[in-house]
Structures are given as structure tokens and as C-alpha cells.
Symmetry: C2
Subunit: 416 residues, 2 copies
């Protein structure tokens, strides 16, 4: 048996034993495409088009304004939040859907600074520092700078692994990514949380690259706030609304910098003075974006009955297998993995850095993969990202992608 | 001929002469429903369902991540903004779509304060005041309070008509509604703009209740910033993304409090330092909400070839006729109009305040109207709001609504 045949056989054996294999049929994926970009835009769940057509034609078109009550549009942010909550290890009533991740980072960081300052006794040093992990997704850093500027703080960037020890008496808030978007490295926000709390600060978890890919334990691990997007592993659609988690104990103290009318205790009183709602609703701002939110709500149905431990196990098996098959198919020295080998440090993506002469050609390598029906993405400088989404990625996909990567590298090198 | 017959005849004559009558067939309105709530949620344009199905099934489902470039999702915020621009009297390149109105009020007020302070020579009194019109839609006031708190300012509420004279050396920014959401009164933001500018401040126009209902002249009348929603007279769908106008000269100085990654000069460099984009793109924040935004983009096609002067003329004719027919149908003393009789002071809605014993029953009157197929809305205390949307409201609708209101009042009084 040739090496490629052995890989295909091994993939077939793994796929036959995969308890999540049946989930793939819930998605509208075309045969012939290996989709490894679900960490950027999740695939379309098959039930979404019909549901969205009903929302548009019946709920909007025929019921019109009555749908705010009759179709319960009004409560969609909290209802959809409660659908996401189990994937976050969160009891109901703590998650609200709306706005973008960036806007939710702003809300939660400002609120975190305010809580930390309120808890600091007079006479103690002022809390004027926001910690961010040094390799954070850019928007988190940009928004943190704005939150710092507007609350009289400074941002200090520290490696995620050192956040716990970096937190000190000046720390008001910290923002940590659960998984590094570029390398796929899994951080330990629980450890950061312990350290930040010990120092008297509050912490915001960014779970954009972990929710739906691996177990998240916000309640159990003491997160104060969390934000995340819903268009990656949650398959909510392009630019689907993000979510905000506010720990129950902190909800009465959640002092939003964006106190829009729908977060008012009695929005339809149209009162001139702001009185915040109870609960997660306090994280709302303006009129909820119904079309996108109800598409997301429908998309979340694919998670019914799914065990996150099984998702995690398959994710690790997929990325292990892919890394092995890349070594088998890709000529030596062309790519190295930025994603840690250790399971404890790995999210659900594999990032391969092109080496030597290939680095300048990395974007062409990704284009050559696209031509071969393998969709991953490219991030400067020279990084090929492959997201593994356990609900619809098969081991056969991983084998095919690795084989195609070998071909793509040879093709690009052959063009020189 | 009876009085009701005379009203129906007059409506038929007016409808026959209506040059916008043909626009109604662009909307999916059911026969038997008189929809007078387009100032809260615009009706569904007929072409939206097919376009949205294509976005979901082909662009998302099949092209997947490639649609960011191949379907030009990335530029949807600016492209859709340029479709709205003519309705705002704005040259291209000054409007960006995204986020909610509340979030855009925050961005623009904070940016306005920053510009005004930068323009104030050292030694002058500090600009620490944000003016809002006293009858503003609540969210504008709540968000203004937050913007004030985070920029070291105070909010001062003044009647819209007095804003020009109220502006003084401490005024950093002012926020004025073009049309009062409750009474339908049309304000004069151009006059306010002159006054605020004379005082050295900057002004934000909230055009939620005017865009698509009457001519707006942002460029000609010197507005610095403007915000508005797209789900009322622009028919973008429930909670459709809002827009932000930043006057061209101010764009290089637009210093956003929400500098998300998509407003970066080179977003895919994923640089750790923020450098703002040129132009209206600077008003972007997070990943654009594609499903809702492309539904809106499609919905805006109903405006092709529509003359805003004709829209305004029909709007005034409709509201004139409705007020006349209300006097004919509703027993005397039951309702008074909060909406000014003068055309110069009227937007595109009629707000009727229930008087005497009827005030406590106003919500039941609106329910009785709904039972009769006439959809308006109720606002506490005792206000019945009827929005007139010239593209799809007919004079026949206005007659039917007035007749139904007479019946509804009698029915509610009969139940006592």
C-alpha cells in the first residue's frame, strides 16, 4: 500500500468510528469542497434558509410591527443568549446577543474598570491599568486602548501566560483570549482569572476562537465578563451578532458605557432618565438586529444533543491527524506548525508558517489550495490557517487537505 | 352623498392623481391591511426575500469565506452608505452603514466633543457641555449622558427650537432630532447648526424620523455628523443596521471611541497599533453584519428614480387629508393632534392624544384599530401614532384609518 493509500485508509477508519459524523449532514456543504475556514466563517446549517425566509416573508412581511410581541422578537437577544449559554458553561440569564465583538469588548472592559475601582477602598492606589495579552486579536487591543483612554487608564500588553503574575494593585481590568487567533494556541484564562482576582481586578475573556470548538467554563472558572462572536464555530452567518456574558453576581453592578434604550428597565415608558434593566438585558444597546439574530438562533439548533467533550476529543484527533499527514505529504522544511503539539495548548486550528523561500509565496500556496477545493485562509506574514470544526470536518477532509497542500507547495515551487 | 361616501370619493380622486402610486406594488403589503406604522418598521420590499435567499444559499452556503471578496461583502458598509447618501443630501463617501443608532450616537458625540476641543485655543474656557433637545428620543439622551461622563462633560437639555441661542462658549457638541419621534414635529436643525457653529461647537443630527420621509440636506446645511436608522422609512427590516454620516472635511479628524479592526487603514495587516482608515470607513467598528446589511441594500432599490420633493408633497397631502378625515369621523373632543398643523413644523406622522376619559383607554383604542386592520402604534401616555409612508400609503388608506378610528373610539366608549 502506498503512503497516500495508507492515509486514506486511516482516515476512513477514523471517520467510521466518529460519533459526530452524523452532524455533517446538518450543513449545506458541497461535495468536492474541503472547508477548513470554519474558524473564520462557519458553514451554513441547512435549516437556516427556510427559517430566514419565514422570518422575512411572514414575520416581517405579513405580521409587520406585531412581530415584536407576537413573534417575540423583543426577547431574541436574551433567548438566543440562553441558547449559547450551555456552550459557554454558563447558567441561563447571563448571556445577551447583539452588537459586534468589538463593541462588546468596549462595554465589558469599561464595566470591568468601573467595578474594580468601586471595590478599591479609599487610600489604596488608583487602578489605572488594563492588561491585554500581547498577541491579542488587533481589535481587542485597539478597543482596549480606547477604553483605557476614556477611563483614565493605560494599556499594558503582557504575554497571556504571564497575565496572572503581571496583575497588581494598579490593575483594573484584564482582557485575555482563550485561543490565539493566529497560532491556535490555547491559553489558560482560568489561571489568569485567579491572578487578576487576587490582585483585585476584573477579567474579560474573549472566547471568539473557542466557543463551539472546545469546552468553555465561564461559571466554574470565575470569568467576570466574556465576549465572543457567533460566525465562526457557531455558524451564525457572516457578521452575525456577537454575545456578551455578564456573571450573575456582577449584573447589578454592570455600568454600561452604551446604555441604549433597550437596556432600560421599562423601555416603552420612553423615560428621560436612564434606569438599567435587571439581568443580562443590561448589556443590550439599540434595537436588536432581528434578521441576523434569528438566523443565528436557528443555526444554534445544530448543537442540540452535542456533547462538548466529544467535540473536543474529535478536534484534537483531527488536528493530530492533519499534522501527521502534513508531515507525510509536504516536502520537508517547507512549513512548520505554529500550533503547539501539546493538547493542553492547542485550540481547534492548525497554523502552518511557510519557511524559507516559500514564505513570500504563502498567499499563492493558499490560492493553489483553493484551486484544489481546499479552503483555508492566509494571514500575513506567511501563515496558512486551517480551522477544524468537529461538527462537519471529517478525517477524510484532513487527509485530502494535507495531500492538496503537498501538491500546492510543489506547484508553487515549480512555477519559480 | 353621505359624509363617508364623500371621503371615499375624495380619496379616490387623490389616489388617481398620485404620481407615487405605482411604488406601492414594490412592497409586499396585504390587501385588507392599512399599514400606518412604517415610521416604526417599514414594510417589506418585494425583492428582498429572493435577494436574501441568494445571499444565504449561494454567497454564504456555497462561496463561503470567498464571498468577503468575490461577493464584495467587505465593502458593503460603504456601498450601502452611498445608496443612502442621496436621501440625506450627501455626496458619496460620507456615509457608512453598521451598528445601531445608539452606538452611532456615541461615536459621533464623542468625536464631536474631541473636534470642538481641538479647535478651542488654549486659554479659552473648556468646552464641557453637550446640548440635547429636551424632547429627544430617550436613547439619544441616555447615550449623550454616557458620552458626557466619558469625556468630562455635562448634558444640558434645551428645547430644539432654542438650541441655536443656547449654544455658548462651553458647548462642545449638540445633538438634535430632525423630527420629534412622539409628536411628529419637524425641527430646524439647520438653524441649530448655525448657532452651534457660531459658538464653536459641533452638531450631530439624528434623522431617524426624517430620512426617507422628507428631504434632508446634510451637505448643504452644514451638518457635522448625522445618525439614523434604516428600518423605518428606509424599509431595511427589523433592527436593520444604522448609518453614520461624517462630513468630508471632518473625516481626517474623526477620532472614534470605537476604533474596531475594520476601521483600520490596513485591517488584514493585523497590526498591533491602530491607524485609522481614510474616509467614511473610519466610522466602521467590527465585522459588518452581512445578512441584515444586504437585505437593506436590496430594500433601498425602491428609491431608484424617486424624487424626494414628490415624497414630501405627498406626505403633507396625506397627513392633511388624514387630519381632516379624523375630524369628520371621530366624535368631537376625543382626540387632539400633537402634530403641528403648519407644514413647516410637520414630519410624516400624525400623533393624536386621547383626551378626557379616553386617555386611559388609548391602548384599547389602538387594539380596536388593529382588529379593524389598521396598524398604528401606541405611546404612553395616551398617544396614537400614525406614520405616513408616501411610497406605499394611499389616500384610501388614510380615509379608511380615520373611519376605523371613529368606530374604534365608539366601540371602546360603548364597552364602558
Amino acid at each position: 500500500m502506498s503512503e497516500p493509500e495508507a492515509g486514506q485508509l486511516e482516515a476512513a477508519v477514523l471517520d467510521a468510528a466518529d460519533e459526530l459524523a452524523a452532524c455533517r449532514k446538518l450543513f449545506a456543504l458541497e461535495e468536492g469542497t474541503v472547508y477548513l475556514d470554519g474558524n473564520s466563517l462557519g458553514a451554513l446549517p441547512r435549516s437556516v434558509p427556510d427559517r430566514l425566509a419565514d422570518v422575512v416573508e411572514r414575520e416581517w412581511g405579513r405580521l409587520l410591527i406585531r412581530s415584536w410581541s407576537e413573534s417575540d422578537w423583543w426577547n431574541a437577544p436574551e433567548r438566543t443568549g440562553d441558547r449559547i449559554a450551555p456552550l459557554l458553561g454558563a447558567a441561563p440569564g447571563q448571556v445577551v446577543v447583539g452588537d459586534s465583538t468589538s463593541v462588546n469588548v468596549f462595554k465589558s472592559l469599561v464595566a470591568a474598570v468601573r467595578v474594580a475601582r468601586e471595590d478599591t477602598p479609599a487610600g489604596q492606589p488608583a487602578r489605572t491599568e488594563i492588561l491585554v495579552d500581547a498577541a491579542t486579536f488587533p481589535t481587542d487591543g485597539y478597543i482596549a486602548e480606547s477604553a483605557a483612554r476614556m477611563t483614565g487608564s493605560q494599556v499594558r500588553a503582557v504575554p497571556a501566560a504571564q497575565m496572572a503574575e503581571a496583575a497588581g494593585p494598579a490593575t483594573a481590568a484584564a482582557l485575555v483570549n482563550h485561543v490565539d487567533y493566529r497560532t491556535g494556541e490555547l491559553h489558560d484564562p482560568a489561571a489568569a482569572t485567579v491572578g487578576v482576582h487576587r490582585a483585585g481586578g476584573r477579567i474579560v475573556w474573549d472566547v471568539c476562537h473557542s466557543v463551539g470548538a472546545l469546552p468553555v467554563e465561564l461559571d466554574a472558572q470565575g470569568a467576570d465578563f466574556a465576549v465572543g462572536c457567533t460566525y465562526k464555530y457557531l455558524n451564525g452567518g457572516p457578521g452575525a451578532p456577537a454575545f456578551l456574558y455578564v456573571r450573575r453576581e456582577l449584573q447589578p453592578r454592570f455600568d454600561s458605557p452604551l446604555p441604549g434604550w433597550t437596556s432600560h428597565r421599562d423601555p416603552f415608558a420612553m423615560a428621560s432618565g436612564y434606569e438599567p434593566a435587571e439581568g443580562a438585558s443590561r448589556g443590550r444597546v439599540g434595537t436588536p438586529d432581528i434578521l441576523s439574530m434569528l438566523a443565528l438562533e436557528e443555526a444554534l439548533r445544530v448543537w442540540e444533543g452535542v456533547d462538548m467533550a466529544a467535540v473536543r476529543a474529535k478536534s484534537l484527533a483531527l488536528t493530530d491527524f492533519f499534522l501527521t499527514r502534513v508531515r507525510a505529504h509536504v516536502p520537508e522544511g517547507r512549513v512548520t506548525s505554529l500550533t503547539p503539539e501539546s493538547h493542553e495548548l492547542r485550540g481547534s486550528q492548525v497554523s502552518l508558517l511557510c519557511e524559507g523561500e516559500l514564505r513570500a509565496d504563502a498567499e499563492r500556496v493558499m490560492a493553489a489550495l483553493h484551486e484544489r477545493g481546499v479552503l483555508g485562509d492566509f494571514r500575513r506574514p506567511g501563515v496558512l490557517r486551517f480551522g477544524f470544526t468537529p461538527l462537519y470536518t471529517s478525517f477524510g477532509d484532513a487527509e485530502r487537505a494535507a495531500a492538496a497542500l503537498g501538491e500546492a507547495v510543489r506547484a508553487v515551487e515549480g512555477e519559480r
